[in-house]
Amino acid sequence: MSVLSAKRKRAIALLSLTSIILITLDLQGSASTSVLRGTFGTFFRPIEGVARVVTRPLSNAWYGITNYNDVTKENNLLREKIAQQEGAAVAAAASVRLSQELLALNGLPTLAGINSVSAQVIGDSPSNFSQTVEINQGSKSGIKVGMPVMNAAGLVGKITKTFARRSIVMLITDPEYALSVKVINGPEAPTTPINDPRAVVSTTTSTTTTIPTTQATSNIPGFTPGATTIPLTTVNVTVSDPALAPTLTVPVNGALPVRETGILEGRGPTRVPIVRFIDSAQRFGTILPGAPIVTSGGSLSLAPPDIVVGTVTKVRDRLGTAGPILEINLVADLTNLSFVRILLYQPITERVAP
């Protein structure tokens, strides 16, 4: 009995040591652990496939019991939303195409210029502490570690591991995820205070001035710019004497949206992501809930510019120069991912030296 026990103790020690060695190898990024995982996956996939088929009725019954009311409610809401958005989508598509043509004409990078691969989400992480999903496209489709993943709504995450025909996607909500983003703050409403002591409510005169269209020229071959429209404000001034009505129109300085960069950080499945390191500059103004968040791009960024990430839901001001912390509502529904698009754009920071 004691011989058997000693043998078992040796086996326990051996297995524990193996585990520790495997952890060390995996943390060092050794390829051998990927080979081990890949080999196990080859044997395990058929078992998983059978289990999926056998247990599907049970899963469906579970969804039916737990989510029926929510699904009905959501369905009605979505029908209404689709009806509202169909018209807006046509106009938006035209604007996006126009914007991309303009960017391409000026030699600026656009998302349309980046190839992409569509993939299906085939599984979540079977753990309570990882925010990852598995997709059915891998290195054979040109997918590499670090590539951004998005769905129809916006950014979803990034590729963290690739196999021949599948990949692992780390979601934005994972605490390990951080990304450089831009907050696009809308222009503040212009106010033109007039402190005229003689001003008494009597007559209202409205004055509007427009700049005549001028034919501009361009250095870009084949590009003829159209009419330039400068945003103007109409100032309604109340004066006592109509003869004193001003003939001045004030162009709005802040009519274009102001942008500021920050870092988006995931905080797990139960807490919303945040954006920090936003500069509390006066120029940027007050950030209001609803301001859109898009990727900032840049040579060191994990994603190309202008991918929609979400909107600001809450602004938490901090003392000093720390700048506010923004809580984000992601546009992509990460709890219900079916199909995703992988942009074949590998950031410099994720490239493996040959």
Binding site: L15, A51, D124, P175, T270
Partner: protein, 172 residues
């Protein structure tokens, strides 16, 4: 040679690998979809804890290490981490006889549930130890509580499965 091969394929460890594969299939499909209170039930943790309770610390730890190694292969955490965690879980579960003399069926069930909850708590601790930190939040206790509760319900069935799987010989 053929006798040795026969002995190998009828051994408890071969049965353990086969049963673990089926349970892992359930873990990555059915239990991945069914999440009571937003928490995934952990059948692999339940299996390891049951092994400890039924066959004691030594066999339990060995079984836990093997179950964990298989579980590791489908997780995104470093390979070997779940192995150590489940090994430790089974070892803790195997300590029941030190606290309960002549354990009854219901005390074994409670022991499995408690060991499962402890095992689930060990996951974020182990992750933090290898630098996968930032998970120090109250949610881990809720997760452990739900996992313990779900495993309390399924423990009677799993104890029977474990008893059969790790039986020294299938005859007698």
């Amino acid at each position: 040679m053929s006798l040795r091969f026969l002995r190998f394929i009828t051994s408890r460890w071969t049965r353990l690998v086969l049963v673990s594969s089926v349970l892992l299939g359930l873990q990555t499909t059915l239990l991945n979809d069914m999440r009571p209170f937003g928490v995934m039930a952990q059948v692999m943790v339940l299996f390891a804890a049951s092994a400890g309770v039924v066959y004691g610390s030594e066999i339990g730890a060995l079984a836990g290490l093997i179950i964990g190694l298989m579980y590791d292969s489908v997780l995104t955490t470093p390979l070997g981490l779940a192995s150590l965690v489940l090994g430790a879980t089974a070892y803790i579960a195997g300590a029941v006889p030190y606290f309960v003399r002549d354990a009854t069926w219901w005390s074994k069930i409670i022991a499995v549930a408690m060991a499962s909850a402890i095992g689930e708590l060990l996951f974020p601790i182990a992750q933090a130890m290898v630098g996968y930190g930032g998970r120090g939040e109250w949610r881990v206790f809720i997760v452990a509580l739900v996992v313990g509760g779900v495993n309390l319900v399924f423990a009677p069935l799993m104890l029977l499965i474990t008893k059969w799987t790790l039986k020294e010989t299938l005859v007698g």
